[in-house]
Symmetry: C2
Subunit: 221 residues, 2 copies
Protein backbone atom coordinates (compact mmCIF):
# COMPACT_ATOMS: atom_id res chain seq x y z
CA UNK A 1 0.00 0.00 0.00
CA UNK A 2 1.21 3.49 -0.85
CA UNK A 3 0.53 6.37 1.57
CA UNK A 4 -0.08 10.04 0.89
CA UNK A 5 -0.09 12.60 3.69
CA UNK A 6 -1.92 15.92 3.78
CA UNK A 7 1.33 17.60 2.74
CA UNK A 8 1.71 15.22 -0.23
CA UNK A 9 -1.81 16.13 -1.34
CA UNK A 10 -1.21 19.85 -1.00
CA UNK A 11 1.96 19.53 -3.09
CA UNK A 12 0.12 17.91 -6.01
CA UNK A 13 -0.44 19.87 -9.22
CA UNK A 14 -4.05 21.15 -9.27
CA UNK A 15 -5.45 18.90 -12.00
CA UNK A 16 -3.63 15.85 -10.64
CA UNK A 17 -5.03 16.54 -7.17
CA UNK A 18 -8.56 16.95 -8.55
CA UNK A 19 -8.24 13.55 -10.27
CA UNK A 20 -6.83 11.97 -7.13
CA UNK A 21 -9.27 13.35 -4.55
CA UNK A 22 -12.32 12.77 -6.76
CA UNK A 23 -11.38 9.08 -6.90
CA UNK A 24 -11.49 8.55 -3.16
CA UNK A 25 -15.15 8.67 -2.21
CA UNK A 26 -16.07 5.51 -4.16
CA UNK A 27 -18.76 4.96 -6.76
CA UNK A 28 -21.14 7.85 -7.36
CA UNK A 29 -24.59 8.28 -8.79
CA UNK A 30 -25.00 9.69 -12.30
CA UNK A 31 -27.90 12.11 -12.68
CA UNK A 32 -28.89 14.83 -15.12
CA UNK A 33 -30.26 17.99 -13.49
CA UNK A 34 -33.02 19.54 -15.61
CA UNK A 35 -34.00 23.17 -15.06
CA UNK A 36 -35.30 26.27 -16.83
CA UNK A 37 -34.57 29.91 -16.15
CA UNK A 38 -37.35 32.45 -15.58
CA UNK A 39 -37.71 32.84 -19.38
CA UNK A 40 -38.10 29.13 -20.01
CA UNK A 41 -34.57 28.56 -21.36
CA UNK A 42 -33.71 24.94 -20.64
CA UNK A 43 -30.56 23.75 -18.92
CA UNK A 44 -29.32 20.20 -18.44
CA UNK A 45 -26.20 19.24 -16.54
CA UNK A 46 -24.71 15.96 -15.33
CA UNK A 47 -23.92 15.71 -11.62
CA UNK A 48 -22.25 12.96 -9.60
CA UNK A 49 -22.97 14.44 -6.18
CA UNK A 50 -26.61 13.48 -5.63
CA UNK A 51 -27.33 11.60 -2.40
CA UNK A 52 -30.15 10.42 -0.15
CA UNK A 53 -30.96 12.61 2.85
CA UNK A 54 -34.20 11.15 4.17
CA UNK A 55 -37.31 9.16 3.28
CA UNK A 56 -39.98 11.00 5.31
CA UNK A 57 -40.04 13.72 4.18
CA UNK A 58 -38.45 12.38 0.98
CA UNK A 59 -35.32 14.50 0.55
CA UNK A 60 -32.34 14.44 -1.77
CA UNK A 61 -29.17 16.49 -1.60
CA UNK A 62 -26.49 17.54 -4.03
CA UNK A 63 -23.29 19.55 -3.72
CA UNK A 64 -22.76 22.33 -6.22
CA UNK A 65 -19.53 23.68 -7.63
CA UNK A 66 -18.03 26.73 -5.87
CA UNK A 67 -19.80 30.07 -6.18
CA UNK A 68 -16.80 31.43 -8.07
CA UNK A 69 -17.82 29.65 -11.31
CA UNK A 70 -20.96 30.14 -13.45
CA UNK A 71 -23.59 27.67 -12.39
CA UNK A 72 -26.69 27.95 -14.56
CA UNK A 73 -28.44 25.01 -12.91
CA UNK A 74 -28.10 26.48 -9.43
CA UNK A 75 -29.29 29.90 -10.58
CA UNK A 76 -32.28 28.28 -12.29
CA UNK A 77 -33.18 26.17 -9.25
CA UNK A 78 -33.15 29.27 -7.08
CA UNK A 79 -35.14 31.29 -9.65
CA UNK A 80 -37.91 28.75 -10.28
CA UNK A 81 -37.82 26.63 -7.13
CA UNK A 82 -37.99 23.37 -9.08
CA UNK A 83 -35.65 20.89 -10.79
CA UNK A 84 -35.53 17.33 -12.00
CA UNK A 85 -33.01 14.52 -11.51
CA UNK A 86 -32.83 11.94 -14.27
CA UNK A 87 -30.79 8.80 -13.74
CA UNK A 88 -28.21 8.19 -16.48
CA UNK A 89 -28.31 4.78 -18.16
CA UNK A 90 -25.90 3.02 -20.50
CA UNK A 91 -27.70 4.28 -23.63
CA UNK A 92 -27.10 7.96 -22.87
CA UNK A 93 -23.65 8.04 -21.24
CA UNK A 94 -21.92 10.08 -23.96
CA UNK A 95 -24.76 12.60 -24.30
CA UNK A 96 -24.97 12.91 -20.51
CA UNK A 97 -21.22 13.54 -20.23
CA UNK A 98 -21.39 16.15 -22.98
CA UNK A 99 -23.83 18.25 -20.91
CA UNK A 100 -20.85 19.18 -18.72
CA UNK A 101 -19.37 21.31 -21.53
CA UNK A 102 -19.48 25.05 -20.86
CA UNK A 103 -22.30 26.09 -23.15
CA UNK A 104 -23.59 29.65 -22.96
CA UNK A 105 -26.55 30.17 -20.64
CA UNK A 106 -29.05 30.58 -23.51
CA UNK A 107 -28.01 27.34 -25.23
CA UNK A 108 -30.13 24.29 -24.39
CA UNK A 109 -28.04 21.22 -23.61
CA UNK A 110 -31.05 19.18 -24.73
CA UNK A 111 -30.68 20.55 -28.25
CA UNK A 112 -26.88 20.24 -28.22
CA UNK A 113 -26.75 16.64 -26.99
CA UNK A 114 -29.86 15.22 -28.64
CA UNK A 115 -31.56 14.34 -25.37
CA UNK A 116 -35.33 14.91 -25.30
CA UNK A 117 -37.06 17.31 -22.89
CA UNK A 118 -40.23 15.85 -21.40
CA UNK A 119 -42.66 18.07 -19.48
CA UNK A 120 -45.27 17.01 -16.93
CA UNK A 121 -48.39 19.13 -16.40
CA UNK A 122 -47.91 21.63 -13.60
CA UNK A 123 -44.17 21.04 -13.28
CA UNK A 124 -41.92 23.76 -14.66
CA UNK A 125 -38.63 21.83 -14.93
CA UNK A 126 -37.93 19.49 -17.86
CA UNK A 127 -37.38 15.75 -17.42
CA UNK A 128 -35.17 13.67 -19.72
CA UNK A 129 -37.34 11.35 -21.80
CA UNK A 130 -34.50 8.84 -22.31
CA UNK A 131 -34.02 8.35 -18.56
CA UNK A 132 -35.70 5.34 -16.98
CA UNK A 133 -35.88 6.90 -13.49
CA UNK A 134 -36.93 10.54 -13.24
CA UNK A 135 -37.53 12.61 -10.15
CA UNK A 136 -39.20 16.02 -9.86
CA UNK A 137 -38.05 18.06 -6.86
CA UNK A 138 -39.00 21.26 -5.09
CA UNK A 139 -36.16 23.27 -3.58
CA UNK A 140 -36.53 23.35 0.20
CA UNK A 141 -33.18 24.64 1.41
CA UNK A 142 -29.69 25.68 0.35
CA UNK A 143 -26.78 25.66 2.76
CA UNK A 144 -23.54 27.41 1.94
CA UNK A 145 -20.48 25.41 2.95
CA UNK A 146 -18.27 28.32 3.90
CA UNK A 147 -15.17 26.16 3.95
CA UNK A 148 -14.96 25.97 0.15
CA UNK A 149 -17.89 28.08 -1.10
CA UNK A 150 -19.84 25.11 -2.45
CA UNK A 151 -23.52 24.75 -1.64
CA UNK A 152 -25.67 21.91 -0.44
CA UNK A 153 -28.99 21.95 -2.31
CA UNK A 154 -31.83 20.08 -0.61
CA UNK A 155 -34.96 19.19 -2.54
CA UNK A 156 -38.18 17.42 -1.61
CA UNK A 157 -39.39 14.75 -4.01
CA UNK A 158 -42.68 15.76 -5.63
CA UNK A 159 -42.89 13.21 -8.45
CA UNK A 160 -41.16 9.94 -9.37
CA UNK A 161 -41.37 8.15 -12.71
CA UNK A 162 -39.83 4.74 -13.28
CA UNK A 163 -40.24 1.64 -15.37
CA UNK A 164 -42.75 -0.37 -13.37
CA UNK A 165 -41.00 -3.68 -14.07
CA UNK A 166 -38.05 -2.60 -11.91
CA UNK A 167 -40.24 -2.07 -8.83
CA UNK A 168 -39.95 -4.91 -6.30
CA UNK A 169 -42.75 -6.02 -3.93
CA UNK A 170 -40.94 -4.45 -0.97
CA UNK A 171 -40.88 -0.97 -2.53
CA UNK A 172 -37.27 -1.01 -3.70
CA UNK A 173 -36.40 -0.26 -7.32
CA UNK A 174 -33.77 -2.50 -8.86
CA UNK A 175 -31.87 0.23 -10.68
CA UNK A 176 -29.59 -2.32 -12.32
CA UNK A 177 -32.62 -3.41 -14.35
CA UNK A 178 -32.79 0.18 -15.61
CA UNK A 179 -29.17 -0.07 -16.84
CA UNK A 180 -28.27 2.82 -14.57
CA UNK A 181 -24.57 3.67 -14.51
CA UNK A 182 -22.16 4.54 -11.72
CA UNK A 183 -19.41 7.16 -11.95
CA UNK A 184 -15.96 7.01 -10.42
CA UNK A 185 -13.46 9.82 -10.34
CA UNK A 186 -14.22 12.64 -12.75
CA UNK A 187 -14.82 10.75 -15.95
CA UNK A 188 -15.20 6.97 -15.57
CA UNK A 189 -18.58 5.35 -16.25
CA UNK A 190 -19.44 1.85 -15.06
CA UNK A 191 -22.22 -0.64 -15.50
CA UNK A 192 -22.91 -2.94 -12.56
CA UNK A 193 -23.51 -6.56 -11.75
CA UNK A 194 -25.30 -7.49 -8.55
CA UNK A 195 -23.20 -9.45 -6.07
CA UNK A 196 -25.85 -9.98 -3.43
CA UNK A 197 -28.75 -8.49 -1.55
CA UNK A 198 -28.46 -8.91 2.21
CA UNK A 199 -31.05 -9.08 4.98
CA UNK A 200 -31.27 -6.45 7.74
CA UNK A 201 -28.24 -7.04 9.98
CA UNK A 202 -28.73 -8.12 13.60
CA UNK A 203 -26.18 -8.89 16.33
CA UNK A 204 -25.42 -12.59 16.81
CA UNK A 205 -26.66 -13.66 13.40
CA UNK A 206 -25.18 -13.50 9.93
CA UNK A 207 -26.92 -11.59 7.15
CA UNK A 208 -28.79 -13.79 4.70
CA UNK A 209 -29.00 -13.33 0.99
CA UNK A 210 -32.38 -12.02 -0.14
CA UNK A 211 -33.53 -13.85 -3.21
CA UNK A 212 -36.89 -12.38 -4.17
CA UNK A 213 -35.29 -9.52 -5.88
CA UNK A 214 -35.54 -10.27 -9.60
CA UNK A 215 -37.93 -12.60 -11.39
CA UNK A 216 -35.15 -14.44 -13.24
CA UNK A 217 -33.14 -14.91 -10.07
CA UNK A 218 -36.13 -16.36 -8.22
CA UNK A 219 -36.66 -18.86 -10.96
CA UNK A 220 -33.03 -19.97 -10.71
CA UNK A 221 -33.51 -21.05 -7.09
CA UNK B 1 -43.46 4.46 -17.00
CA UNK B 2 -45.29 4.50 -13.69
CA UNK B 3 -45.68 7.78 -11.76
CA UNK B 4 -45.80 8.42 -8.02
CA UNK B 5 -46.83 11.82 -6.63
CA UNK B 6 -45.82 13.33 -3.30
CA UNK B 7 -49.17 12.15 -1.92
CA UNK B 8 -48.52 8.59 -3.14
CA UNK B 9 -45.17 8.63 -1.36
CA UNK B 10 -46.66 9.95 1.87
CA UNK B 11 -49.29 7.22 1.79
CA UNK B 12 -46.68 4.42 1.62
CA UNK B 13 -46.09 2.20 4.63
CA UNK B 14 -42.89 3.36 6.42
CA UNK B 15 -40.61 0.46 5.51
CA UNK B 16 -41.88 0.36 1.91
CA UNK B 17 -41.24 4.10 1.59
CA UNK B 18 -37.72 3.74 3.00
CA UNK B 19 -36.97 1.03 0.41
CA UNK B 20 -38.47 3.14 -2.38
CA UNK B 21 -36.84 6.48 -1.60
CA UNK B 22 -33.44 4.95 -0.87
CA UNK B 23 -33.47 3.48 -4.40
CA UNK B 24 -33.86 6.79 -6.16
CA UNK B 25 -30.51 8.54 -5.80
CA UNK B 26 -28.61 5.98 -7.90
CA UNK B 27 -25.48 4.01 -7.06
CA UNK B 28 -23.75 4.89 -3.81
CA UNK B 29 -20.30 4.48 -2.36
CA UNK B 30 -19.66 1.76 0.23
CA UNK B 31 -17.37 2.81 3.06
CA UNK B 32 -16.64 1.63 6.58
CA UNK B 33 -16.31 4.42 9.14
CA UNK B 34 -13.66 3.57 11.76
CA UNK B 35 -13.63 5.42 15.08
CA UNK B 36 -12.82 5.03 18.76
CA UNK B 37 -14.45 6.62 21.77
CA UNK B 38 -12.46 8.57 24.38
CA UNK B 39 -11.59 5.27 26.11
CA UNK B 40 -10.27 3.62 22.97
CA UNK B 41 -13.31 1.40 22.34
CA UNK B 42 -13.43 0.74 18.61
CA UNK B 43 -16.45 1.25 16.40
CA UNK B 44 -16.91 0.32 12.76
CA UNK B 45 -20.01 1.07 10.71
CA UNK B 46 -20.89 0.83 7.03
CA UNK B 47 -22.18 4.01 5.39
CA UNK B 48 -23.48 4.65 1.87
CA UNK B 49 -23.69 8.43 2.17
CA UNK B 50 -20.05 9.47 1.68
CA UNK B 51 -19.46 12.02 -1.07
CA UNK B 52 -16.85 14.38 -2.48
CA UNK B 53 -17.05 18.02 -1.38
CA UNK B 54 -13.82 19.51 -2.69
CA UNK B 55 -10.23 18.79 -3.71
CA UNK B 56 -8.40 21.85 -2.28
CA UNK B 57 -8.77 21.65 0.63
CA UNK B 58 -9.49 17.91 0.25
CA UNK B 59 -12.91 17.46 1.84
CA UNK B 60 -15.39 14.62 2.12
CA UNK B 61 -18.92 14.70 3.46
CA UNK B 62 -21.35 12.17 4.84
CA UNK B 63 -24.93 12.35 6.09
CA UNK B 64 -25.68 10.76 9.46
CA UNK B 65 -28.85 9.17 10.68
CA UNK B 66 -31.28 11.40 12.63
CA UNK B 67 -30.30 12.54 16.11
CA UNK B 68 -33.18 10.52 17.53
CA UNK B 69 -31.27 7.21 17.20
CA UNK B 70 -28.03 6.10 18.90
CA UNK B 71 -25.10 6.92 16.68
CA UNK B 72 -21.82 5.71 18.16
CA UNK B 73 -19.75 6.72 15.15
CA UNK B 74 -20.97 10.31 15.25
CA UNK B 75 -20.41 10.58 19.00
CA UNK B 76 -16.89 9.18 18.57
CA UNK B 77 -16.04 11.54 15.71
CA UNK B 78 -17.13 14.49 17.82
CA UNK B 79 -15.26 13.19 20.88
CA UNK B 80 -11.92 12.45 19.20
CA UNK B 81 -12.05 14.69 16.12
CA UNK B 82 -10.81 11.92 13.81
CA UNK B 83 -12.22 9.05 11.75
CA UNK B 84 -11.34 6.78 8.86
CA UNK B 85 -13.19 5.81 5.70
CA UNK B 86 -12.33 2.41 4.25
CA UNK B 87 -13.68 1.47 0.84
CA UNK B 88 -15.58 -1.83 0.81
CA UNK B 89 -14.43 -4.42 -1.73
CA UNK B 90 -15.97 -7.67 -2.93
CA UNK B 91 -14.02 -9.77 -0.39
CA UNK B 92 -15.57 -8.07 2.65
CA UNK B 93 -19.15 -7.32 1.60
CA UNK B 94 -20.85 -9.58 4.15
CA UNK B 95 -18.64 -8.48 7.07
CA UNK B 96 -19.11 -4.84 6.05
CA UNK B 97 -22.90 -5.23 5.93
CA UNK B 98 -22.90 -6.93 9.33
CA UNK B 99 -21.37 -3.80 10.94
CA UNK B 100 -24.79 -2.18 10.54
CA UNK B 101 -26.24 -4.45 13.26
CA UNK B 102 -27.11 -2.66 16.50
CA UNK B 103 -24.26 -3.81 18.70
CA UNK B 104 -23.87 -2.25 22.14
CA UNK B 105 -21.50 0.74 22.29
CA UNK B 106 -18.75 -1.23 24.08
CA UNK B 107 -18.73 -4.06 21.51
CA UNK B 108 -16.13 -3.75 18.72
CA UNK B 109 -17.56 -4.44 15.29
CA UNK B 110 -14.01 -5.41 14.28
CA UNK B 111 -14.13 -8.33 16.70
CA UNK B 112 -17.70 -9.27 15.81
CA UNK B 113 -17.21 -9.26 12.05
CA UNK B 114 -13.64 -10.52 11.80
CA UNK B 115 -12.32 -7.38 10.12
CA UNK B 116 -8.85 -6.28 11.22
CA UNK B 117 -8.12 -2.93 12.88
CA UNK B 118 -4.98 -1.28 11.52
CA UNK B 119 -3.45 1.73 13.27
CA UNK B 120 -1.12 4.34 11.83
CA UNK B 121 1.32 6.19 14.11
CA UNK B 122 -0.16 9.44 15.37
CA UNK B 123 -3.67 8.71 14.11
CA UNK B 124 -6.23 7.76 16.75
CA UNK B 125 -8.90 6.18 14.54
CA UNK B 126 -8.58 2.58 13.29
CA UNK B 127 -8.32 1.73 9.59
CA UNK B 128 -9.62 -1.54 8.10
CA UNK B 129 -6.66 -3.69 7.04
CA UNK B 130 -8.75 -5.58 4.44
CA UNK B 131 -9.71 -2.37 2.61
CA UNK B 132 -7.67 -1.46 -0.46
CA UNK B 133 -8.40 2.28 -0.19
CA UNK B 134 -8.25 3.86 3.26
CA UNK B 135 -8.64 7.51 4.19
CA UNK B 136 -7.86 9.21 7.49
CA UNK B 137 -9.90 12.34 8.15
CA UNK B 138 -10.01 15.18 10.64
CA UNK B 139 -13.42 16.55 11.53
CA UNK B 140 -13.69 20.14 10.33
CA UNK B 141 -17.40 20.90 10.58
CA UNK B 142 -20.82 19.45 11.34
CA UNK B 143 -24.01 21.01 10.01
CA UNK B 144 -27.38 20.07 11.40
CA UNK B 145 -30.03 19.68 8.70
CA UNK B 146 -32.96 20.96 10.72
CA UNK B 147 -35.47 19.64 8.20
CA UNK B 148 -35.01 16.03 9.34
CA UNK B 149 -32.49 16.19 12.18
CA UNK B 150 -29.72 14.48 10.23
CA UNK B 151 -26.23 15.93 10.20
CA UNK B 152 -23.70 16.65 7.50
CA UNK B 153 -20.22 15.69 8.74
CA UNK B 154 -17.35 17.33 6.85
CA UNK B 155 -13.82 15.97 7.20
CA UNK B 156 -10.48 17.02 5.75
CA UNK B 157 -8.31 14.25 4.32
CA UNK B 158 -5.12 13.82 6.35
CA UNK B 159 -3.90 10.46 5.00
CA UNK B 160 -4.68 8.22 2.03
CA UNK B 161 -3.53 4.63 1.57
CA UNK B 162 -4.15 2.70 -1.63
CA UNK B 163 -2.71 -0.08 -3.70
CA UNK B 164 -0.18 1.71 -5.87
CA UNK B 165 -0.99 -0.36 -8.95
CA UNK B 166 -4.43 1.30 -9.18
CA UNK B 167 -2.94 4.81 -9.40
CA UNK B 168 -2.98 6.19 -12.94
CA UNK B 169 -0.41 8.66 -14.36
CA UNK B 170 -2.97 11.49 -14.23
CA UNK B 171 -3.57 11.09 -10.48
CA UNK B 172 -6.84 9.20 -10.67
CA UNK B 173 -7.26 5.89 -8.87
CA UNK B 174 -9.03 3.18 -10.84
CA UNK B 175 -11.18 1.91 -7.96
CA UNK B 176 -12.54 -0.91 -10.12
CA UNK B 177 -9.05 -2.45 -9.93
CA UNK B 178 -9.49 -2.48 -6.15
CA UNK B 179 -12.70 -4.51 -6.53
CA UNK B 180 -14.60 -1.71 -4.80
CA UNK B 181 -18.35 -2.24 -4.64
CA UNK B 182 -21.32 0.06 -5.19
CA UNK B 183 -24.51 0.04 -3.12
CA UNK B 184 -28.04 0.62 -4.35
CA UNK B 185 -31.09 1.00 -2.18
CA UNK B 186 -30.62 -0.18 1.39
CA UNK B 187 -29.09 -3.59 0.86
CA UNK B 188 -27.93 -4.31 -2.70
CA UNK B 189 -24.21 -4.67 -3.43
CA UNK B 190 -22.79 -4.48 -6.94
CA UNK B 191 -19.48 -5.01 -8.65
CA UNK B 192 -18.78 -2.85 -11.67
CA UNK B 193 -17.51 -3.08 -15.21
CA UNK B 194 -16.09 -0.01 -16.89
CA UNK B 195 -18.06 1.20 -19.89
CA UNK B 196 -15.81 4.08 -20.88
CA UNK B 197 -13.67 6.93 -19.70
CA UNK B 198 -14.45 10.22 -21.44
CA UNK B 199 -12.39 13.32 -22.15
CA UNK B 200 -13.21 16.72 -20.66
CA UNK B 201 -16.34 17.92 -22.46
CA UNK B 202 -16.22 21.04 -24.64
CA UNK B 203 -18.93 22.76 -26.69
CA UNK B 204 -18.90 21.89 -30.41
CA UNK B 205 -16.91 18.68 -30.04
CA UNK B 206 -17.82 15.19 -28.90
CA UNK B 207 -16.12 13.61 -25.87
CA UNK B 208 -13.44 11.09 -26.77
CA UNK B 209 -12.73 7.85 -25.02
CA UNK B 210 -9.60 7.98 -22.88
CA UNK B 211 -7.58 4.84 -23.31
CA UNK B 212 -4.54 5.16 -21.06
CA UNK B 213 -6.49 4.09 -18.08
CA UNK B 214 -5.50 0.50 -17.43
CA UNK B 215 -2.38 -1.35 -18.61
CA UNK B 216 -4.36 -4.25 -20.08
CA UNK B 217 -6.69 -1.91 -21.94
CA UNK B 218 -3.77 0.00 -23.46
CA UNK B 219 -2.28 -3.23 -24.70
CA UNK B 220 -5.56 -4.15 -26.39
CA UNK B 221 -5.45 -1.02 -28.53
Amino acid sequence: MKSWTRADIQAMQQRYRAMFINSLSGFKSANLVGTTDANGNENLCIVSSVFHIGADPALMGMITRPQSVRRDSVANIKATGYYTLNQVNTDIVVAAHQTSARYEADISEFTETGLTAHYEPGFVAPFVAESQLRIGLKLVETKLLEINQTELIIGEIMLVQSKESALEPDGSIDIEQLNSVAISGLDRYHSTQKITRLSYAKPHSQPEELLFDTPDQTSQE
